[in-house]
Symmetry: C2
Subunit: 349 residues, 2 copies
């Protein structure tokens, strides 16, 4: 039989962080697409945008004339701070538990058209500083503080103004709960953090690296599910949480965020949609800096586009009921992103 | 503090099949929606539809003039039968394995406009019979045979002709792998299948039942993630696989599928999009009827619509990075579906 070629022959890959497998079927990229396409145009600036400096929001409150970042409580939060406790379960198959929390919105910039790749490194550093403020404050009370950004209409984002959300909860959500377990297991077995070992291999191999600087690497994980999924990993000092970053790491992070987002936008010449967010060691009472040596802080970008600005990957039937499936290898995705221009297409003369 | 009301107070619920939690935030349904909407119209019948009886497909092959169901190999399969094996992993964090399989497409009806709720019970029974044929044939060779239907453009379905897909694989995918584990654990601990115990409670309680007949129940699971998610459960004989169904169960299934899909279409007066599929005990060499007493066969409908024919629930940032979140309780969803008319809106005079 012929030799195995990952770019030609389907196979499954293991995601050690989620303890799950991914089906990689690169030969499938050849099929024609006649399904739904997504409109992907920059919306016209809305003078009534409720996230803009000075705007009046749905609840009648007026935003200040902010000039950098701006954080306010989500007007329609999924998590409230004070809720009564559900009764104890009477049957093991009907378990409900209390969930307390808070939801905030954080604007990145007063100008609605200033997305991350168009912002200056200093402006992105202000975003990172505010993320750290929020983690510090909310991390005192809450077990898990999820920072995430839904970008683009296709990702359910109802407002194009550059912003992210912060949902803090009294409970540990599924995704980080599994990652806490898998990283702990690896640490117990090998005496080193899973992601530190992983990054070491990736830096030797280079195949999946998109962009790097002195302090950070952006790579397409070996086990990526989304077509152009990437992970941001710190190279030095093994930070466990965003609050562990020093000034140089913050600056390096701002630079790599700008660089990666520039490549993303250049890939299909559009403001690249995604959900992104941060995973680090759990917080809350009883947690202290340095107490989770099995964790390595990492950022995740989960973008849906597959072939063009209008054709996304649908994670539907087989993916929902059986297992994620991808149509190009992570190495192919990394190479394509690597080869994208490092100057934003909108800034080209 | 006030008394806990599930329709007012956020809480988390446990999904014992997936060993995961769901955040239920019913108060959130009040927020206004200004994000992306989905076009949801019946596409005009396409005389060149490649799934139609007699049509010529992309690869030049011509469909026969079929009059009931029709199965053919997927022209762009994610799984092929013959592929070389990847080399053994050199590092625990870089594991790839061989994946063999086959992908088929199954048309439900020669007429492109005949969706399940518009088909007769006899026509739906032909679909069920063919599912069982496929499971029998492919189940001899393959560990897992996933039958699934992606319906509607919003679910990545590129052809409105009523059809499903069958992907059979040499490996056990993530979702059934976890369900096999959780059901085995429950069976060991309580001596009864998890879903048999579960159904017993639901039949007493009635809150989450949408529709039932002598042999089947359609209910919104206590732990549903999608707004109008439902599960089809057999009432009698504890079938472990589709191939265990007797004639009466097949007829009852056809009837409940027609009934449930009629309510779905009536909910927002549209051809209701979803991904649906079947989960039962694993197959393949070494497996025999009756050998998996911890399993109960069940069907799953995972529909994305939340508020109307054009506004769906986005499972994005928080859901991808932390945990699924829903905006109405499963009991509210069940009641709304229960109250939908049992005559299809298109068949009303
Ligand atoms: O094979 P189809 O229907 O063209 O493709 C659809 O279903 C597949 C299985 O769920 C997915 O992998 C694809 O992303 C989706 O577009
Ligand atoms: O709060 P938003 O941005 O309006 O809402 C969006 O993100 C949330 C968190 O991922 C999701 O629950 C919603 O379905 C989505 O539309």
């Amino acid at each position: 039989m012929t030799e195995f070629k990952p770019t030609e022959h389907q196979h499954v890959r293991y995601n050690p962080l989620k303890d799950e497998w991914i089906l990689v079927s690169p030969h499938r990229c050849k099929r024609p697409w006649s399904g739904q396409t997504e409109e992907q145009q920059d919306p016209a600036p809305d003078p009534n945008n409720p996230l803009r400096a000075g705007a009046v929001r749905a609840n009648g409150q007026k935003n200040p004339m902010y000039s950098s970042t701006y954080v306010f409580p989500n007007d329609f939060p999924a998590l409230l701070e004070r809720v009564p406790e559900p009764p104890a379960p009477e049957h093991p198959l009907f378990q409900a538990k209390q969930a307390k929390g808070t939801c905030r919105v954080m604007c990145f910039h007063p100008d609605s058209s200033m997305t991350v790749p168009l912002m200056t490194v200093e402006e992105i550093m202000a975003v990172i500083d505010e993320w750290i403020n929020q983690m510090t404050e909310l991390g005192r009370r809450y077990t898990w503080v999820q920072i995430f950004e839904n970008k683009g209409a296709v990702m359910g984002c109802s407002n194009p103004h550059p912003h992210c959300q912060i949902w803090a909860s009294s409970f540990m959500p599924n995704e980080p709960r599994v990652k806490d377990r898998t990283q702990k297991q690896y640490y117990t077995q090998y005496g080193k953090p899973l992601l530190v070992d992983y990054l070491e291999q990736e830096l030797k191999n280079k195949d999946r690296i998109v962009i790097e600087n002195e302090d950070w690497v952006a790579l397409v994980p070996y086990w990526a599910a989304w077509p152009y999924e990437t992970m941001l990993l710190p190279k030095k000092g093994r930070p466990q949480r965003l609050t562990d970053l020093n000034d140089q790491q913050k600056k390096g992070l701002a630079e790599i965020m700008k660089g990666l987002n520039t490549k993303y936008d250049n890939l299909f010449k559009c403001s690249f949609p995604y959900s992104m967010g941060w995973h680090g060691a759990p917080t809350g009472p009883g947690h202290n800096p340095g107490d989770a040596p099995h964790w390595l802080l990492h950022g995740l970008y989960l973008p849906p586009l597959l072939r063009s600005a209008t054709v996304k990957k649908f994670m539907v039937g087989y993916e929902m009921l059986a297992q994620p499936q991808r149509d190009l290898t992570p190495e192919q995705a990394a190479q394509t992103l690597r080869e994208c221009d490092s100057v934003h297409y909108k800034l080209k003369k």
